[in-house]
């Protein structure tokens, strides 16, 4: 066994032992009445709460009220009980709270999730979109994630233009149910992209290998290739493709491929040789139809191990 593997095994064993150590002793707090008090009036919520992931902590039975059950999220209920109801008597009534407060309340527990590590700088948070805009804690119709709507309909509620793209002839199969928006996006915010100068991909998730989300499925595009088509690495797949949907085949940005290629291969930009992106050769007579379908010959356009011109 190599040293690195031994260290890994030791770390895992230590973590396992630590995990099995006793939990902290709960400390009682004033104002908490326990979730049982809530059942009386909120029977509709309680009746199916065992299906809610938040019930897990309640089922453990080893945590104080401020960390579990109704009061774990809504705060101490004594005043609410004494007043016989009313939103203003609930410490944390989410329907009347500011987005920032809602976010902080949820992060009390969920901040430890890696998926939410960048939530404070996500575009959703910047624009006041908070947890309860997408998640319905008590009345979720979705099978997972407590979404406020079913699957990608949650996202389409605001992103109608994206829905329109998924209804185009060429598209990723989101409406067909084989994909979801979160296959490619992390709505809670992402780490900085390793492509496109680290800017502007809106919450596009990366793979575990630091690549663009497309590579999760289209793994063969990752390479490494002896001859990379540099823009795919440097600027990402969306340089040539629309990721959601397109009226053009293969999700391309243009209906004919030669215009897509020539808009770069015209000597402009810096190119990889600092002399502009290579022009097509003088033998390529664009008026000849066979030269209008560039990828007929340049078959390995995403990268090749055998040909600098991507011919094989």
């Amino acid at each position: 066994m190599f040293a690195g593997q031994r260290i890994s095994v030791a770390v895992f064993i230590l973590l396992w032992v630590a995990a099995l150590s006793p939990a902290q002793t709960p400390t009682p707090n004033a104002g908490y009445v326990g979730s049982n008090a809530c059942k009386t009036c909120h029977a509709d919520v309680w009746a199916s709460f065992y299906k809610n992931p938040h019930d897990q902590a309640l089922a453990r039975g080893d945590r104080p009220p401020e960390q579990t059950g109704c009061e774990g999220c809504h705060g101490p209920g004594q005043q609410h009980v004494a007043a016989r109801g009313g939103k203003t008597t609930i410490g944390h009534a989410f329907s009347i709270m500011q987005p920032k407060q809602i976010l902080e309340d949820c992060l009390t527990c969920h901040a430890k999730d890696l998926q939410k590590a960048n939530i404070q700088r996500s575009e959703h948070t910047l624009n006041g979109v908070t947890c309860t805009n997408c998640h319905s804690i008590h009345h979720s119709p979705s099978a997972k994630f407590l979404l406020a709507k079913t699957r990608s309909e949650t996202c389409f509620a605001c992103h109608a233009s994206v829905r329109a793209q998924f209804e185009m002839p060429s598209k990723h199969r989101v409406n067909e149910g084989v994909m979801d928006c979160w296959d490619c996006h992390n709505p809670h915010g992402t780490f900085t992209a390793t492509w496109r100068m680290a800017t502007r991909p809106p919450m596009v998730e990366q793979t575990g290998l630091n690549d663009e989300a497309c590579i999760k499925c289209h793994s063969d595009r990752r390479g490494p290739f002896v001859y990379e088509h540099a823009p795919t690495v440097v600027e990402g797949c969306e340089r040539c493709h629309y990721p959601h949907g397109s009226t053009n085949g293969r999700l391309l940005r243009r209906p004919v491929v030669f215009t897509l290629c020539l808009e770069c291969h015209n000597g402009g930009g810096t190119g990889t040789r600092l002399a502009g992106v290579d022009l097509t050769t003088s033998g390529h007579n664009l008026l000849d139809p066979k030269y209008q379908r560039c990828t007929t010959c340049h078959v390995r356009i995403h990268g090749s191990n055998a040909d600098p011109l991507f011919l094989r």
Partner: protein
């Protein structure tokens, strides 16, 4: 009681609102609302199966239909859902079991989702998907690169001690395969760009194993994860019968052809993350290193006759290995000085290097020449820093602002040995630096509790654009307003994104896209709800061109622009009706209509010259529409009969490549759905 009833009614109504306006035919969405199921011991069980026959009748271009829709005929388990939930959270051996399936039985889109969870001990998630992909390849190659493949994806994730407050552990496995027949092409014998169609048997497989641990200590969370990915591509291209050139005037013939190109490799990755969140600050730091290694070989052998009628053959041997180590790290500091003010600073560094040893050798038997090529090195290093400020002085008002700076260095090193090419040996290094500065800002208004308004934008400038179409001088501007109540949701959005790159040294490029849309969802009554949206997507681009063309012989052309204009109007309307307590009816309609640049007739044939050719590809108007209807009858409390019809109509207004790909299709299903 009255209050509970009201809540239930509102919940059901809200659920009705959430039902999508336009969806594919099956499975039929279950009505949601009150709790259902049967109690067995300490568990509550719900179950649902929808089994039926799907039909499809296609007229016109079957290839494009299969590319866009691909539904066929046959019996299907259109959908199923099984949930088993422990009512007290102490079930054995699990507390939650969720199993959903879709399209099983050779639908082109099949999926199975499984979750099994035992409180405190484990959570297992499985996601299995199969996608039957067909593409005629017309756009990219005039039909020479047809694909008829199957992509199979499966993900398995096991989390141990999922809600433990000290440590959790996770194990995962993913598999991704792509298999199936395809057509491709091969250029052989000389450099006059003669390509022959060949058959391709695509075989790709990726296996990914993961193991990780999360430790919570002193309010810090530390995550370490190890990933091993193994991939192999064993696609074989072949041709056994004589095949003529793709070019009809080219007399070349490919007698035999074979190409094997195995590519096997592995990626190992480490991820380490540390973060904590306190009342006034939060920190997260991440480092991710992934090694990448691939070994490859290529053996290509072709025989035939060249364009002069002489016997020709060619063998190409390539072997080598490649590495692609990538390192990315992020440091994110969040400061929360007051309850309504947030400062986030984010620094990221990433470094990608693609390098390796490769020996490319091409031996030309006719001339006894050997061509050798070595590896190209590509390295991309990016450092970026972004600061965002968010201030919410009032519940109804918030602003944000941000500044991003990014520095990127690209290094390309080319080593080559090209016989007969002056200075065609040695190596060249091309380092280049680019910087990007961007300022963003926006605000949020909430004049009324259900009404929000968001406006925001970003202005950026980048130097050293890699390509003419890269972001150089760009801005985005967006706005959104929404009115949301339980029964009524109204929204309107606008977003524009301009990238004005002129002037560059050789050419110009300008891209302007604008999106505007409005949507509404309204649960008018308990028995009727409407959902509709309209979106206008505008795109116009102008890019300078340089290329070779000529009616007699090709000459360098410099005075032309590539112009593309698209004006897409997309709308959908869905209406759902509950008829008594027996039936649900859904009718919907979607349309995507690209009106192009407004011209009513296609440009003259491209054969008349370069200008005509470019004029003919500036716009591509088409209409794609899909009305549908679905009805669901409750036969018994547990049994429903469903029937649906959906029409797809694809109509290109102008033809590309001298023929239309239009089609229309009637699809649908009839099914029985059993549920409790």
């Amino acid at each position: 009681m009255g209050r509970q009833l009201t809540t239930l009614i509102l919940t059901a109504a809200a659920a009705a609102v959430t039902l999508p306006a336009q969806e594919v035919l099956a499975p039929t969405p279950e009505q949601v609302g009150s709790t259902r199921g049967e109690n067995v011991g300490a568990y509550n069980i719900t179950d649902s199966f929808e089994f039926g026959y799907r039909f499809a009748s296609v007229f016109g271009n079957d290839g494009l239909y299969r590319s866009d829709i691909n539904y066929g005929n046959g019996l299907r388990l259109l959908g199923s859902t099984l949930t088993i939930d422990s009512k007290d959270g102490h079930g054995r051996p699990f507390d939650e079991l969720l199993l959903t399936t879709m399209g099983l039985g050779r639908d082109p889109y099949e999926s199975v989702v499984l979750r099994i969870r035992k409180n405190r001990l484990y959570r297992y998630d499985m996601n299995w998907r199969e996608n039957q992909f067909f593409d005629p390849g017309v756009v990219i190659s005039g039909g020479e690169h047809l694909m008829n493949t199957t992509r199979l994806l499966q993900d398995h994730d096991l989390t141990l001690l999922p809600d433990n407050r000290v440590a959790t552990f996770d194990l995962g496995y993913s598999r991704n395969t792509l298999t199936g027949p395809a057509l491709t092409s091969a250029q052989e014998f000389d450099t006059s760009i003669v390509a022959f169609p060949v058959f391709s048997n695509i075989r790709q497989q990726y296996n990914d194993f993961r193991a990780g641990a999360t430790l919570h200590l002193a309010r810090f969370t530390f995550i370490v994860r190890r990933t091993w990915e193994f991939f192999k591509q064993d696609t074989v291209d072949s041709q056994t019968a004589p095949e003529g050139s793709i070019d009809p005037i080219d007399p070349s013939v490919l007698q035999t052809f074979s190409r094997t190109q195995p590519f096997h490799g592995s990626n190992g990755a480490w991820l380490g993350t540390l973060f904590t969140s306190r009342k006034h600050w939060a920190v997260n730091a991440r480092a991710n290193y992934a090694s990448g290694k691939g070994d490859f070989a290529l053996n290509e052998m072709a025989t035939g006759t060249d364009r002069f009628g002489a016997a020709a053959n060619r063998e190409i041997l390539v072997n080598g290995d490649a590495q692609r180590p990538t390192l990315s790290s992020d440091f994110n500091l969040t400061i929360l000085p007051t309850d309504n003010f947030t400062i986030v600073n984010h620094t990221a560094v990433s470094n990608i290097r693609i390098d390796g040893n490769s020996f490319y050798s091409e031996y030309d038997f006719a001339t006894n020449t050997l061509t050798m090529l070595d590896f190209n090195f590509l390295g991309v290093r990016t450092v970026s820093n972004a600061t965002n400020l968010r201030y919410n002085p009032r519940k109804w008002f918030g602003v944000y602002a941000g500044y991003t700076f990014s520095d990127r260095q690209i290094r390309v090193e080319e080593a080559f040995n090209l016989p007969g090419v002056p200075n065609g040996s040695g190596s060249s290094l091309y380092p280049q630096d680019s910087t990007l500065s961007a300022v963003s800002g926006g605000f949020r208004l909430q004049p009324l509790k259900p009404w929000t308004v968001n406006l925001g934008g970003e202005v950026g400038h980048a130097s050293g654009a890699l390509t003419p179409v890269s972001d150089r001088n760009y801005h985005t501007l967006g706005g959104r307003t929404q009115y949301r109540t339980r029964l009524l949701q109204l929204g309107a959005t606008y977003r524009e994104q301009y990238n004005e790159n002129a002037p560059l040294s050789f050419t110009t490029y300008s891209s302007r896209s604008r999106q505007a849309g409005a949507s509404a969802s309204w649960a008018i009554k308990r028995w009727v709800s409407l959902d509709t949206s309209y979106t206008k997507l505008h795109l116009d681009t102008v890019g300078g061109l340089q290329f070779f063309a000529g009616l007699v012989s090709p000459q360098l052309q410099t005075g032309y622009d590539s112009i593309f204009i698209s004006n897409i109007h997309a709308a959908n309307l869905g209406a759902r009706f509950s008829i008594g307590r027996r039936a649900d009816l859904f009718v919907g309609y979607t349309i995507t209509k690209d009106t192009g640049d407004g011209r009513s007739a296609a440009a003259p044939p491209a054969a008349s010259g370069t200008a005509a050719l470019l004029d003919s590809v500036q716009t591509f108007p088409l209409t794609y529409e899909s009305p549908m209807a679905r009805i669901s009858f409750r036969l018994t409390p547990k049994l429903r009969w469903n029937a649906a019809w959906q029409y797809y109509g694809y109509n290109e207004q102008f033809q590309l490549f001298s023929y239309y790909e239009n089609y229309h299709a009637h699809t649908g299903f009839t099914s029985l759905q059993w549920s409790f």
